[in-house]
């Protein structure tokens, strides 16, 4: 479907734009947080649309399962491959073939640039969770492209 390519191209251009807008001295930090904040707002709006007709969620695990299945399918056309939790507020979502990374070469060459490509999605997950009433911190790591892991830490107030 053409719409997938559209989003991927747009996403890469956003990353390029933010990267060039940042001057050389500050490293990836500001670039990543800008992308994350963008993802946050988008995640909030997306969740409002997606959960319009779904029944209310029972608990946190239900929310995480929704994110892994329905939410991920709507955005990336596939589900999360693996969800692990320690039942104490830490969830690890593993995607073995992350859509936004498949276009980068699978070797070690671009491993250091990968975090920029994951920042928007981290924000997306954080925004989605926050609108569903779950405060969290989402980080991502890549060891082998194109697989990546998103770690969600739920913050209990």
């Amino acid at each position: 479907m053409a719409d997938e390519a559209l989003f991927q191209f747009l996403h890469s251009e956003i990353i390029q734009y933010i990267n060039s807008a940042e001057t050389g001295e500050s490293e990836n930090g500001r670039c990543v947080s800008k992308l994350e904040n963008m993802g946050f707002r988008v995640g909030q709006g997306l969740i409002e649309r997606f959960t319009k007709d779904t029944p209310r969620f029972k608990d946190e695990l239900d929310v995480m399962k929704f994110i892994c299945k329905d939410f991920w399918t709507s955005v990336f056309k596939k589900q999360i491959d693996n969800l692990r939790t320690n039942h104490q507020g830490i969830y690890v979502l593993q995607d073995n073939k992350f859509r936004l990374l498949t276009q980068l070469s699978a070797g070690k060459q671009y491993l250091e640039h990968a975090p920029k490509f994951l920042a928007f999605t981290c924000g997306l997950v954080r925004g989605a969770l926050s609108n569903l009433g779950v405060k969290s911190i989402v980080t991502a790591e890549v060891s082998v492209m194109p697989a990546c892991k998103f770690q969600v830490m739920i913050q209990k107030i």
């Binding site: 709006g45 969740i47 649309r49 029944p55 209310r56 609108n131 569903l132 009433g133």
Partner: protein
């Protein structure tokens, strides 16, 4: 036909509240405020059947001698409260449900508006017109 419609945020402050006869405004604000307690009670639903908990429409919250108050909660914990006139007894459950549906659709559109910050009072004209269409016409 509603007499007062309110949208209340997750943190329980009003995002949007509008009532028809402008002289009774304070009374409606008070009614909506007190209905929040009933909403909380329905959401937490201790010991209720599982089917109840999964629904977004909460139904009749409580009737006073002049008015009936209906509630609806979204998955993002935003609450909609509609107050209707008791004398207008012909309003059926289905009609109230469809009013809430329209409100929810309109609210989703407001949320997706990139110029709207979640948590701000709702100032969208489109939302306003949907709400006016549902209110009793002031004579």
């Amino acid at each position: 036909m509603a007499v007062c419609i309110a949208v209340i945020a997750k943190e329980n402050y009003p995002l949007y509240i509008r009532s028809v006869p402008t002289q009774g405004e304070l009374k409606f604000h008070y009614t909506v405020h007190t209905s929040l307690d009933v909403v909380e009670e329905k959401i937490s639903g201790v010991g209720k059947a599982l089917a109840d908990q999964r629904e977004l429409y909460l139904g009749l919250l409580y009737p006073t001698e002049d008015y009936k108050v209906y509630g609806y909660v979204t998955n993002s914990k935003v609450k909609f409260v509609i107050v209707v006139d008791s004398s207008n007894a012909s309003l059926r459950d289905n009609e109230i449900r469809s009013m809430f549906r329209k409100l929810h659709n309109s609210f989703t559109d407001v949320m997706c508006n990139p110029f709207y910050n979640p948590g701000d009072p709702i100032q969208s004209k489109a939302f306003d017109s949907i709400v006016s269409a549902m209110m009793v016409q002031a004579c």
